[in-house]
């Protein structure tokens, strides 16, 4: 019984963590790109990195306040999106995939350069104490710490309740915005572009402008995800590399592309399944058969197998409508 309660608490702990909220935000953005508009963005981690470092460097190096730093983060993501979009959105979808994955890697390596150590912290990254202060100062929560369902965090400071509240509040806002946009004629044009861009152009809609708007909107959501993810402890360029992008893709496909709640459900399952697998294996499988490090790796293998099964047997994801959207690239 103790084991089950312990497991549930650790699942709860994982599900509400800022990392999960950051993943959900980035996945909502990726879902706007891929699910609704059909853009193959393979560089969502790059948008997250622009957001995280745009915020972090603004505070730690330039000493800006919270709101200006947030604005800088948004502008960074927008500039990144425009630079990616102008040359590629006029071409076929595959080129966007190639360019975005390359661009995300380029920015990661640039932020990692030892030369930039005084600004970005280079390969070591930045610790949250250097950029966290303006965010904590906004907290209306009282001093001390709070325990909810067996999980205890300080109210404000470090890995706290404040960042969780803001993170999940942002998730709710982004979901609301996505829902409002996707039922509108604007969302309809995006879906039209996903189906056949030339048909949409022949009806007098500038597909380039719509694709650019979608890329930027999803990119800014990714940037928010990056900020939320890095607020509790630290940011480091390698946190936001290719594996993160691929995990986001899996989350979108798992939950169901082109659905509103797909990214949320996908993220929750993605994190919950891994924590359950590693905890159960750690409890019941003897150490000499499977060490802790190996269970972690095995969990990833199972995640990969799950993705394959998903694409074969349920291409529309868990929430998706098979008629409307199959995994079709």
């Amino acid at each position: 019984m103790d084991f089950v309660i312990g497991l549930l608490v650790s699942v709860f702990q994982t599900l509400i963590s800022p990392t999960t909220a950051g993943f959900v935000l980035a996945a909502i953005g990726l879902n706007i790109h891929f699910g609704f508009t059909g853009l193959m963005n393979m560089g969502q981690a790059g948008f997250m990195l622009m957001g995280a470092y745009g915020f972090g460097v603004s505070v730690s190096f330039f000493g800006l306040g919270f709101w200006p730093a947030l604005l800088v983060a948004i502008v960074c993501a927008l500039v990144f999106g425009v630079i990616l979009g102008i040359p590629t959105l006029k071409l076929r979808g595959d080129y966007l995939a190639i360019v975005t994955i390359a661009a995300a890697e380029i920015v990661r390596m640039i932020f990692k350069m030892a030369m930039l150590q005084p600004v970005t912290g280079g390969p070591l990254g930045l610790h949250s104490t250097t950029y966290r202060e303006p965010f904590s100062a906004l907290s209306p929560l009282p001093e001390g710490s709070t325990t909810i369902l067996g999980v205890t965090y300080p109210n404000t400071g470090g890995n706290d309740w404040w960042v969780r509240i803001v993170g999940w509040g942002l998730v709710a806002l982004c979901l609301l915005l996505t829902w409002a946009l996707m039922r509108s004629p604007w969302g309809r044009v995006l879906k039209g572009i996903r189906e056949d861009e030339d048909a949409v152009r022949s009806l007098g809609k500038s597909s380039f402008a719509f694709k650019m708007q979608a890329l930027l909107l999803g990119g800014v959501m990714g940037a928010f995800g990056g900020i939320i993810m890095t607020l509790p402890s630290s940011m480091q360029p390698d946190m936001m590399g290719r594996p993160l992008t691929f995990n986001l893709w899996m989350i979108v496909l798992l939950g169901g592309a082109a659905t509103i709640f797909g990214p949320v459900l996908g993220t929750l399952i993605f994190f919950a399944v891994r924590i359950v697998l590693t905890t159960v294996a750690g409890e019941f499988v003897p150490r000499d058969i499977l060490s802790a490090a190996q269970t972690e790796q095995l969990a990833w293998v199972l995640v990969g197998v799950a993705l394959m099964l998903l694409v074969i047997f349920r291409p529309q994801g868990i929430l998706g409508n098979k008629k409307e959207l199959s995994f079709n690239v």
């Binding site: 309809r188 044009v189 189906e195 056949d196 030339d198 949409v200 022949s202 009806l203 007098g204 409307e324």
Partner: protein, 321 residues
């Protein structure tokens, strides 16, 4: 927008057209589309090279020609889906120019061309497969403020226009007998129904001219007749129709004017009854020696073969030049 004051009396229109000289590039009394020196080369091959063409407002103009004549390329150029090789550029460039409804279109993209009132369909239908028939129709509407990202989240700002569009969509779907299918996915329609849907969708914005690229291709004969009726009905309501077809018998009944292309050039223009008889057209479709039976030994004598040989040499020399 179509001009309601224009006299759409078919007989009067035909009578006017009958007085025109039947030569390629002839001036029309009231052209809606005027094209000058438009050229498209793919490598060494010239796909389209049209010197001058005018399309009469309110008429059904058929653009016919054998396969590979450059009809679809010409369509793509006019509607902004392709750029002419001699397009005007910021520096240098050629003298390609075309105007639609009095507006110069030479540097206009596909979306702007459509907004100007020149809406096209495609030879291979482009129905938006994983959207419903109704959504397909609504996407064709213009002036929808909800297509602005900043206004889109606020439904009251675009709901009124959406209701108007729904009404128009219902009207058009009923007319094209697709009203029972409106909640089906467009991808599930039959080939012919997709053609009808594409045409109906193009009409959502009340275009001044509709350009149909092979509307009859792949449609079963029973549906062909109703498609032809729809095209005629459009003209009677004041929409100019320009359509591409390679079967000339199909166009004879419904078109008011026929333009014939071959090897990228305009070779003839005229009334549907007479243009088919023109020597250039018969040559283009059937070859210059179509009336000689190559199996007839009496007809194929040395003189005839020599005559053909010299003709070929002359043509080759011309090509070299």
């Amino acid at each position: 927008m179509s001009d309601d004051t224009y006299p759409y009396d078919r007989e009067a229109l035909r009578a006017t057209l009958r007085t025109l000289e039947q030569t390629p590039g002839v001036a029309k009394p009231d052209p809606i589309l005027t094209v000058d020196h438009i050229e498209r080369r793919f490598g060494g091959m010239t796909a389209v090279s049209v010197d001058h063409l005018e399309v009469q407002r309110g008429a059904i103009t058929a653009l016919i020609g054998p396969n590979g004549a450059g009809k679809t390329t010409f369509f793509n150029l006019i509607t902004g889906f392709d750029q002419p090789s001699n397009a005007k550029r910021l520096i240098g460039g050629g003298d390609a120019a075309w105007a639609f409804n009095g507006r110069t279109m030479s540097r206009t993209g596909a979306a702007r061309a459509a907004r100007a009132g020149m809406v096209r369909t495609f030879q291979l239908t482009k129905a938006l497969g994983r959207m419903t028939v109704l959504q397909n129709m609504l996407i064709g509407a213009n002036d929808q403020p909800g297509e602005n990202m900043l206004l889109a989240p606020f439904k009251p700002l675009w709901a009124a226009r959406e209701r108007e569009n729904m009404e128009r969509a219902a009207e058009l779907l009923a007319r094209f007998k697709l009203d029972t299918k409106k909640d089906d996915m467009a991808g599930d329609l039959s080939g012919g129904q997709k053609k009808l849907l594409e045409m109906a969708r193009a009409l959502m914005s009340n275009p001044a001219m509709i350009m149909l690229d092979e509307p009859m291709a792949g449609v079963n004969p029973a549906l062909t007749q109703s498609l032809l009726d729809h095209i005629q009905a459009l003209r009677d309501e004041g929409t100019t129709v320009l359509f591409v077809e390679h079967d000339m018998h199909m166009v004879r009944h419904i078109s008011d004017w026929v333009v014939v292309m071959a090897q990228g050039e305009l070779i003839a223009e005229g009334l549907p009854e007479s243009v088919m008889q023109s020597e250039a057209v018969v040559d283009a479709y059937l070859g210059a020696h179509h009336d000689k039976d190559l199996g007839d030994d009496d007809a194929i004598n040395t003189g005839f073969i020599r005559a053909i040989a010299t003709e070929i040499e002359e043509e080759l020399e011309e090509d070299v030049r």
